[in-house]
Amino acid sequence: MSKRILVIEDQEDNRRIVRDLLASAGYEMIEAATGEEGVAQAEATTPDLILMDIDLPGMNGYEATRRVKSNPALRRIPIIAVTSYALSGDDAKAYEAGCDAYVTKPFSPRALLAKIREYLKD
């Protein structure tokens, strides 16, 4: 059974790139365009990994991460944050919110896939 990855991302192009990338690697992908929708999808589908954009309209990625991690049933799901490029601080905030790893935007699909594989090894 293929692993399911929830991608929470408001940009259609970014979703499409990740979708094409994950499809080629044989992963199943669930999509959400807002933080609220993402949290609902996580609760409904219990994915194996969450790719969380931080810069989201409405509820941002930090808050969505906190919601997911505060749910005992979902706490074990690894969350990879996709942070905007910044000098510093975003990574620390991502870890603080409960993210397991982060990649900075614009990300290389190749590097992203490597990061995902690292967390879905078993």
Partner: protein, 505 residues
Amino acid sequence: MREWLPRLVARVPAPVHAKLLVAFLAIVLLLVAVGAAGLQVLSGVNRRAEELGQLQRKIAAYRQLQHDTTAQLYSVASALLVPDERTLEGTLRQLNQFGYDLDRLQFVAKDEVELLVRVRKDYERFIRVVGQVVELIRGGRGAEGRELQLRETGPLADRLERLTNQLVNKAEADMVASIEAGHQAYVTSRWVVIGFAVGSIALALALGYAISWSLVGPVQQMEARLQQITAGDFSQRVDVPNRDELGTLAVNLNHMSEELGRLYRQLEAASKHKSQFLANMSHELRTPLNAILGYTELILDGIYGEPPEKIREVLKRLEMSGRHLLSLINAVLDLSKIEAGQLTLSLTAYSMKDVVQTVLAGVESLAAEKQLALKTSLPPDLPPGKGDERQITQVLLNLVGNAIKFTETGEVRVDVASGDGAFTVSVADTGPGIAPADQERIFQEFQQADGPGARKKGGTGLGLAIAKRIIEMHGGRIWLESKPGEGSTFRFTLPVRVERQVEAT
């Protein structure tokens, strides 16, 4: 006195020169007053001396009168005893002298006039009687003359003596009173002169003090205020009580300060807006760029089927250009974040040795590609540092990356030393070197050294500007030592333990 008098003078709504003029005039008037008081005293003393002289002459005249009366009596008595013509002549001569003495008493005071009138009356009678006595003696009627002498002349002489005694006593009493009054007047005028002199000195000092401090005080206040303005503090106001030119100056100074403060705030806001705009814009630019780079990589990785070699080549160039554009946008974002004060250093413990090794590992392949030797010397006893490890790594990476980029043959050396609580890190290359004119400029935004090959190397021209800001935020300093043709050495110092971020200016 210290406070209110200068304030009082300051509040007088008159120009400074008018105040000074009034003060000088006041002092001059006081001097004139002191002089006038002195003259007054002198003339009083003189008047009293004259009065005393007059009294003395008067007393002398009265005494002379008494003496004359007595002499007259003796003279008549002698004539009665020795009735020869010579004696009689002497007696008549003395009578004339007597009249002369009386005429000298012209200066008598008003209250003495009555006495003197009586003296004159008695005197005239005395002269007449003496004249009759002399006539009787001449006529050989000595017995009748003696009888008249005894009956009339004697009592008249007694009365005259009494009257003149009264005059003398009165004059003497006047003299004593005059001396006493003179002494009193001296005491009074002494105090008046001393009072005027002390008052003048006190007033001159007070006026000098008040006027000079009403001028110096506000000048000092404004001087201090100007220093605050120079230091960039526009919030204070200078408050002087003056209603003269200095008051106007203070009002203008406050106005200028407010205006400067307003402009400064506007400028600051404009600069913040600019930085914010750049930050927003670069963020917006990266979203489509993300898609371009992402799709390009997916195509190159064969996700959509293996692309033909020709397309792959073009895609690689597309990807390179995209990454360059990305680095430009990132650098603009970095700088605008620093300028907007949005960059906060995260100060943690780090190892300078690890930083250098991370950087060297990152550029190893680049140096190897150009066959450049990458050398380093790390003292074994480097102290543990505190600072923003990521930023310090970025700075060093930028310096070493530049050194490799601009050096064609030879080596790139990274040396670290520590001492006096600071690390000194130097990155030396054997590249073309940088002309002195460019050495300051390359730390400014969008500046690269001119000269052959410089533009070809690409890069944003922001790396060194960012590095400089980051080093300065750590409280360090970065500079360059270079001669054209002899390579360049970039050096920066960094406090070993940075406890607080230095605000970017």
